[in-house]
């Protein structure tokens, strides 16, 4: 029984261990703190006490840093909060799960605004521009991952020509932890993620096999083409982390592919996304699995016949902190399926 549960046990143990004072050694923040964020100089005279997080990933990073008491509100949640952060998230006001209004944000009297996407905070945004806050002396922060892809390709969401990795996410965690003077906790979270990344790589290196994955996000109906995770996005990163490859070799972040096209790639493992929304007929994993097993053609796939279908949180397919959780979720199921030696 132990090996089956080892991954979840590992994940459960790692965070509290890493957060113990023994491993904490980062220096406290000296204010005023000056940072350069996406070409904007921001200054903090003290740690923010009424921060607003625009976008689920920004909010979840703050919650991971234990900042729920310093947060005045969050907005834009495509999916449910990470279960271990649910209790902390209860303490923070939810402005809206959709795009908020500038007035709604200002009504919370924020002393700091951090955003995950440029359409929540950026020059073309219909929510807010950084000047709206800087004019009021409120520092704002945009996810470095977004700026990096934007300047490199002129593309707001990164049609990547290189495989995504966690480095810019680590930079974001590090900078946010400095801003809030919780650098110890920031370093601990980063160390925890890095250790989990390394643990996965080590495990697949010693026990794994070279698997090919297809990452199925959703389809409007069984007859429609499937929305998949592309080669260089978070899905590609997960495949790489698990020592395998993504069968989709296009650089498009979210390719739409016919089932004939998917069958031609003959994937070794089919990853079906578990989505919180219920907008499309095949958003739910049960519906996806039922389709895979009943469609006359698709059910003939080797992966389906051998039951190599695994379920993963759909949010993991977006390049966020959830990506590493998704990789662990798959690894656990691969182990149950006996796909590790």
């Amino acid at each position: 029984m132990f090996p089956v549960k080892s991954f979840s046990a590992l994940c459960g143990l790692m965070l509290p261990l890493a957060l113990s004072p023994v491993s904490a050694q980062a220096a406290p923040t000296v204010y005023p703190l000056m940072l350069s964020n996406c070409g904007v100089e921001i200054t903090f005279d003290k740690a923010p006490e009424h921060a607003i997080a625009l976008g689920q990933n920004s909010a979840e990073i703050m919650l991971l840093l234990g900042l729920e008491d310093s947060m005045a509100g969050t907005a834009f949640w495509p999916s449910k909060v990470l279960p271990e952060l649910a209790e902390a998230n209860e303490k923070v006001k939810l402005l809206t799960v959709e795009s908020p209004s500038l007035e709604g944000i200002l009504a919370e009297r924020p002393d700091f605004v951090a955003a995950q996407l440029l359409n929540l905070l950026g020059p073309e945004s219909k929510v807010a521009k950084r000047e709206d806050f800087s004019n009021l002396g409120i520092p704002s922060y945009v996810s470095p991952g977004v700026c990096a892809t934007n300047t490199a390709s002129g593309d707001v969401h990164g049609a990547r020509d290189q495989l995504w990795n966690m480095d810019l996410l680590y930079q974001e965690i590090d900078e946010l932890s400095q801003i809030f003077d919780v650098a110890d906790r920031g370093q601990a979270v980063i160390a925890d993620f890095k250790a989990r990344e390394a643990a996965l790589r080590e495990k697949v290196a010693s026990e794994g096999q070279d698997l090919s994955f297809v990452f199925w996000f959703s389809s409007p109906t069984p007859a429609d083409d499937a929305y998949l995770g592309g080669k260089n996005g978070a899905s590609g990163f997960i495949a790489d982390l698990l020592g395998g490859t993504n069968v989709m070799q296009t650089e498009v972040e979210w390719p739409t592919v016919s089932w004939e096209g998917i069958m031609a790639t003959n994937p070794g493992v089919i990853v079906v996304a578990d989505l919180d929304r219920d907008r499309w007929e095949l958003d739910k994993p049960e519906a996806k699995i039922a389709f895979l097993k009943t469609d006359p053609a698709v059910s003939e796939l080797e992966a389906v016949k051998q039951g190599r279908i695994v379920v993963m949180d759909g949010q993991a397919m977006n390049p966020t902190i959830r990506t590493i959780y998704g990789a662990e979720q798959i690894a656990e199921q691969l182990e149950e399926l006996g796909l590790f030696k």
Partner: protein
């Protein structure tokens, strides 16, 4: 004698109507500035405006000050200008094309704008140096140029011009779909949708200066040509026989509407219904003469859009509804009432 008296009576009536409706427009803008999610006392609202105008210098909460001046007032003024501009374009195009269904997007301007915006969002043209709005503006004018080419500089007649507009819309919508389906990801497709739905969320003072200038120029040109527009109602030949340079007037007016619509659509997205319905409503009130119709359209369109924007901001807490949803939801019952009453009276 009685005709002259009636003429003066009508002029006075129109003057009174315009005066009243301008007052209503001012009130609407004041309401747009005073109403919002954040409860701000009325006196604070008033002093926030007078402070920034340099008339007073009360110590106010900077957040209140900023919400009133930078966010609500600029937004209400842009909404008024956009409503005025769209209604003006609708009235001009309905007359020029002699088609009751003509509206500002009939020449494919909206479709062209979305292609321009998509080219910026998805293909990354200009790598961040060209703004979305500039891209949309170029796209809108490209579509207009295409229509002008197809309809032989709008000489080919109203029917052919409308067909050319339909062709341009189809072409640019297809281009947009092609770009989105071949190179966009799900998030980008969503951005494009969000952008096209129309919203006053992104506007501040610089946008107001631009749209005010463009709408003012458009209004002056159209008023100057109001008599010619009246003549168009009886057909091109009748207009020509009255000594109106038909082709020149038509090209100028098409260009003015294209400039207005392209400016507005590239600033706030595609907002339907106002340009179609306000001119009809205005005609019910003041009749078909353009010297009366156009100012009425401008004021009514402005009031309508400001009120619609207030509704879009307050109907959902913490969140903004796309303005196009509100213009249709508020506009259709209002228009039904006018239609019903006009049928009864006729």
């Amino acid at each position: 004698m009685s005709g002259l008296k009636r003429h003066f009576g009508e002029q006075a009536g129109l003057g009174l109507f315009l005066l009243l409706s301008t007052a209503v427009l001012m009130l609407a803008i004041a309401a747009g500035t005073g109403i919002g999610e954040m409860p701000i006392p009325l006196d604070t609202t008033f002093f926030a405006v007078t402070n920034r105008l340099g008339w007073t210098s009360f110590a106010l909460d900077p957040i209140h000050q900023s919400v009133i001046w930078d966010y609500r007032l600029s937004r209400a003024l842009v909404a008024a200008c956009c409503g005025a501009g769209l209604a003006l374009c609708g009235a001009i195009l309905q007359s020029l094309l002699r088609n009751a269904l003509a509206e500002p997007y009939v020449l494919g301007v909206s479709a062209g704008a979305s292609t321009g915006a998509v080219a910026i969002i998805v293909l990354g043209f200009g790598a961040g140096t060209i703004t979305l709005s500039a891209g949309a503006f170029v796209g809108a004018f490209a579509s207009f140029a295409f229509v002008a080419l197809l309809s032989d500089g709008a000489r080919a007649g109203a029917g052919k011009t409308i067909l050319a507009g339909v062709a341009a819309s189809q072409l640019f919508n297809a281009l947009t779909s092609y770009i989105v389906s071949t190179s966009a990801n799900a998030q980008q497709a969503r951005d494009v949708m969000f952008w096209m739905l129309g919203s006053f969320g992104g506007v501040r003072w610089p946008e107001f200066q631009l749209v005010l200038g463009v709408v003012a120029i458009g209004f002056v040109v159209c008023m100057y040509l109001a008599k010619a527009l009246d003549a168009f109602a009886f057909g091109d030949d009748a207009a020509a026989s009255l000594g109106i340079p038909v082709e020149a007037v038509r090209v100028i007016l098409f260009a003015v509407t294209a400039l207005l619509t392209a400016t507005i659509v590239s600033m706030v997205g595609s907002i339907g219904f106002v340009g179609l319905v306000v001119p009809h409503a205005a005609r019910f009130i003041v009749g078909p003469s353009h010297a009366r119709l156009l100012p009425t359209c401008v004021v009514t369109g402005g009031v309508f859009m400001v009120l619609a924007d207030i509704v879009s901001r307050v109907i959902l807490p913490q969140q903004v509804l796309p303005i196009g949803v509100v213009t249709a939801l508020v506009g259709v019952p209002f228009f039904s009432l006018i239609l019903y009453r006009s049928q009864r009276s006729s």
